[in-house]
Amino acid sequence: MKPKIFFSYLLLGTIGVVALYPALWTILSSFRVGNSLFSDHFIPVEWTLDHYRDLFRARSTRQIPYANWYWNTLKVATFSMIIGTLIQLLTAYAFSRFRFKGRKQMLMMVLVLGMFPGFLSIMAVFIILNTLGLLDNTWALVLVYSAGAALGMFVAKGFFDTIPRSLEEAARMDGAGHMTIFIRIILPLSRPIITYISLTTFAGAWVDFIFARAILRTPENWTLAVGLWNLVDSYNSTEFTLFAAGCVLVAIPITALFMYTQRFLVDGLTAGASKG
């Protein structure tokens, strides 16, 4: 082996260790006996599944309704995904296929507002939700995430732009209306981009911390992000192994989903990049 290649493998290996270490350390910690952050051994001397069981057991001394958090997060993410994806696709279809007055101005507006991080106006959203009586309600999160979904439509628009118009024109000759064309022709051709959008909106809602912390007040209504943050913040390192177990249960499904669909993600990222 040439020294250059050997050196490259060495570097790749090192980066690989750095990339994997935190995840491995957390998984191993979650099986360790005891509850402290500190440990002399990377690999646990004694293994236990207690912490996983503990997550779902009520105790009078603390409020860690982990099952509630999981259910809330799943609910918020699923509904945000369905509504958000639908809104994005419809908006993108309108902007990609129709030429109407004020279209360029609206596109400009979508871009500017899309770059504007929603949480800058968090206090206003907070007050609006308060007047609607929706504070401390997980549905408020679904509403907030879906309401802004249209602003992320550029990736889908870029994709729709590449679908040849002749397909639609042929369909129109056969007497298909706008909606039929969208459902029967555009959607079936858009599988990769639909997968990409659903995945990213699901993951976005699954991991959001900012709005969730601002809107949800009582521990039973928290999502995983708020709950786990609170676990670290208030119990510091005294409930560490429990926290690790909680992290493993959150991270493994979504990480597995990401790895499984990474081809779509990579395609989506690059498609979004070259189209701006």
């Binding site: 350390w25 129709f98 770059m115 670290v232």
Partner: protein, 430 residues
């Protein structure tokens, strides 16, 4: 009667719908008339107190009133609710004014078409895209645009703890006093400039490290002679795939300077370890390094995609000319990658200015310092704003900071937009 566009226009100025009636578009005329009447009725009736409220923001605070023999606490005006309802009312009025203008324009346009003896209605199936956009538009209007308007207004009030928190007290309009405070009053201005400086340094460092780190890793994997390229890529994507809040909270534990594993490895070698998150300098180093761990995979994936699009004959030609690997990298690879990723670089820079998660979840802005007002050493403008809002109730200062950030981002967005190829050339594809 000979049709006349001017007459139609003036009739519509007089009363919405009249011009359309004159143009003999009766259904349209009735529609405009109804909107017009409803608008006047609403604006002068139920909306008027709301609009007044927007101007005064309430006149009577919560106070004691003598009811019979005992003093009773009487609720006063709630300035913030008055403001929200006022903004909503103003929005409705604006919509009516727009429809009024549309009505005049429509009368003139149709009138002109009639003068020239053309068909009355332009064939219009143009309603369909608006139908598609209606719901998304409402969502954006109420949860993005209105909050922005509302936030901008709050910056011009004294809505802040401890003296101006409704319903206990009233909030007043104060003009530019909040901005004046932010720039000129020492406790605020030193915090603002300090946090702003760190935000910019952070954004530049975070963007550059992730960008070049990603390019290097991608090139490393892509070298000739490296086996299992897919495996390496998969391995390095893992940090990106783990939800950010999980990995950041874990990192926070890893970097814990008393019990964290990192420092225990240092101690195993007889070293003291470092105060990773508790020392101003090391906390800044920590957030940048952790951010590299999270951010490099994204650039890596992008660059790997771009590398496959570089035509191979460029390299072959370079080989014929006897170019060294470094020359090939500098003159072929780098320009290609830079060109393709320039817009991404800008978005990532803006994204890092607003990188809330990395700072808030990792350090929470800590270490705390006496120098700053309600901010820590690693706080960015956005995390400072979040704390000002949620923890300290300094709404007006937070709103002023939000406006400044927004102006900055909007400038970048517009520059980017004008340069985006897809926008300039989108009609050429079809």
């Amino acid at each position: 009667m000979k049709p006349n566009a001017t007459v139609a226009g003036w009739l519509s100025v007089l009363c919405a719908g009249l011009g359309q009636w004159y143009n003999r578009q009766y259904a349209k005329a009735v529609m405009f008339l109804i909107i017009h009447v409803a608008g006047i009725y609403l604006a002068l009736g139920p909306l008027l107190p709301q609009l007044k409220g927007l101007v005064t923001l309430g006149v009577k605070g919560q106070h004691f009133e003598k009811v019979g023999k005992i003093n009773k606490l009487v609720p006063g005006d709630h300035s913030v609710f008055m403001m929200i309802y006022g903004v909503l009312a103003a929005l409705v009025v604006v919509l009516f004014v727009l429809s009024y203008i549309l009505n005049i324009r429509d009368a003139v346009v149709v009138g002109r078409r009639l003068e020239q003896g053309r068909y009355r209605d332009a064939a219009s199936s143009s309603a369909f895209p608006w139908l598609l956009l209606a719901i998304p538009f409402l969502g954006v209007l109420f949860f993005t645009i209105m909050p922005i308007v509302f936030t901008s207004l709050i910056a011009f009030t004294n809505y802040a703890s401890p003296n101006h928190i409704p319903p206990k007290n009233l909030v007043d309009w104060v003009g530019f006093a909040t901005f004046d405070k932010l720039f000129n009053m020492n406790v605020w201005s030193s915090t603002f400039t300090g946090v702003l400086t760190w935000t910019i340094i952070w954004a530049i460092l975070a963007t550059v490290t992730c960008y070049f780190g990603g390019i290097l890793v991608a090139l490393l994997i892509n070298q000739k002679g490296i086996k299992f390229k897919g495996f390496w890529r998969m391995l390095f994507i893992i940090p990106y795939a783990i939800p950010q809040f999980v990995s950041l909270l874990i990192m926070r534990n890893i970097l814990n300077d008393k019990f964290g594993p990192l420092n225990s490895y240092f101690r195993a070698f007889g070293l003291n370890g470092l105060p990773w998150l508790n020392d101003p300098f090391w906390a800044k180093v920590s957030v940048i390094v952790v951010n590299m761990w999270i951010g490099i995979p994204v650039t890596m994936v992008l660059v790997m995609g771009i590398l496959t699009t570089i035509p191979n004959d460029l390299y072959e030609a370079a080989d014929v000319d006897g170019a060294s690997p470094w020359m090939k990298f500098r003159n072929i690879t780098m320009p290609y990658v830079l060109f393709a990723t320039a817009p991404i670089l800008i978005t990532q820079f803006v994204g890092n200015i607003n990188n809330f998660n990395v700072i808030y979840l990792l350090t929470g802005g800590a270490p705390a310092t006496m120098k700053y007002n309600n901010a820590g050493e690693t706080d960015l403008l956005v995390t400072w704003l979040y704390k000002l809002t949620l923890d300290f109730n300094q709404y007006n200062i937070a709103a002023a900071v939000a406006i400044l950030i927004f102006l900055f981002i909007a400038t970048f967005a517009i520059i980017l937009f004008r340069r985006t190829r897809s926008f300039k050339e989108e009609d050429m594809i079809q």
